[in-house]
Symmetry: C2
Subunit: 226 residues, 2 copies
DNA sequence: TAATTATTGCACTTTCGAGTGCAGTTTCAG
DNA sequence: CTGAAACTGCACTCGAAAGTGCAATAATTA
């Protein structure tokens, strides 16, 4: 609850305007952070873009840091609502993974998010503490993959030793094919549809884990018998 | 050749000192950029740390940008010398991939590099133009994977439709298991040895591509017959 | 209407760091 | 030894942006 005016306590009066302006400020900040990054974002510009005095901005958010964190939390929530992998026993596994990939692509095609991701990533690398909350959500998604795998294993549709590990691998494949290329600007998706590289990654993943352990063609296994 | 003193032309005199100091400045800048990131790096600090006057620093490198680029180029060269995947027909494929993974891990365990990677990544996201040269090398490595795959295919040890695509997938797996976790600070390697997740990723990769196309267990193939 | 709280405008302080100008000193090749 | 080129020290300019103080004003609700 940081970043709320101190006057909040006691009877609340004159709060209608406040709520609307607060939203405007959050939206404006989001735009500003998106296009400028964290360090170059300008608090005067945020205030102006929200049609609010700078002083008001500082009444709501005591510092740039607090404002940034507020943005991050909001966006992280939005995303986790959209891009999740949920297990369904009534649909082909491939379809479920494809669905997830499509959702991710859609997210990356939305400049509104993409730019903000870049900002957050840059800041996370520069100053991890600043960005904690966003990343918490992010890693949760990773363990969402593990849950999905576990469910599929329980259904005897996959054969996996370590669900978390398999989840990481799926995550690597999706990030490598969708997220990083978008963020690092190597490629942009023309549509929401899957392309051949992504299909191939999903193929590989399913092929490997659709086969019982001892049938997998591996050499040189050096791992605890777990 | 940017960032060299203008006085260079004509007969060269008094250059012995110059070369040594130049090196000292590069080393100092590297340290400074590593620990502080690009924006927070302080040119006064660089000069001090190189035991050189600020004016001399600016005589060699007309701006912070130029200095940063110079560092990037040097480091990119060092890295591409160390972490490459070279095809050998006299060794198991698995061993070759493992070698590469081990080299990558070694790189990530070297704080000297790791910190600089973080800085470069942050800047690339913030300001891609600044970092071009480093990334050029980076993507070259990616196509190095494709070359390796092609060679293995020519040797009939792998069965791959599109070598570049397979190379990307291998890259995704390695980055997902080694590079990103290190850079984003989720895990650090205790030793240079491979761990189970990396082994499993390599297993998966080899398993999938060791089998002729039509034998692969895939559903729902939707791709050009290429 | 009266009391309360939010909002505004604007000038102000502070901090910080990149890059410059210049006069004097050092170094080294020839 | 000599003179060109490289180096030094230091004060300086310039700009930018975060955050503050305050007195005046507007909006809200009882």
């Amino acid at each position: 609850m940081e970043g709320w005016p101190k006057q909040q306590s006691g009877r609340m009066r004159g709060r209608r305007v406040s709520a609307a302006k607060r939203l405007a400020m959050l939206e404006a900040a989001r735009r500003e952070f998106s296009v400028s990054g964290y360090l170059n974002a300008n608090m005067d510009a945020v205030a102006a873009s929200a049609s609010v005095s700078k002083r008001t901005l500082y009444n709501h958010f005591p510092s740039k840091e607090v404002l940034f964190r507020a943005i991050i939390v909001r966006v992280a929530e939005e995303i986790s609502r959209v891009a999740t992998l949920r297990y369904r026993n009534d649909a082909p596994l491939r379809e479920q993974l494809e669905q997830y990939a499509i959702q991710s692509i859609r997210l990356m095609r939305d400049a509104r998010y993409l730019q903000l991701f870049r900002t957050v990533l840059a800041e996370h690398v520069r100053n991890p503490a600043l960005v904690e909350p966003a990343l918490a959500t992010y890693w949760k998604a990773e363990y969402g993959f593990a849950d999905w795998v576990r469910a599929a294993v329980a259904d005897r549709r996959l054969f996996v030793r370590d669900a978390v590990r398999a989840g990481h691998i799926f995550g690597s494949l999706m990030r490598g094919a969708i997220i990083w290329p978008s963020i690092l600007g190597r490629s942009s998706f023309k549509s929401d549809r899957l392309n051949a590289p992504i299909n191939e990654a999903i193929d590989m993943f399913l092929a490997y884990y659709s086969v019982p352990e001892r049938a997998k063609p591996q050499r040189n296994r050096a791992r605890p018998a777990s």
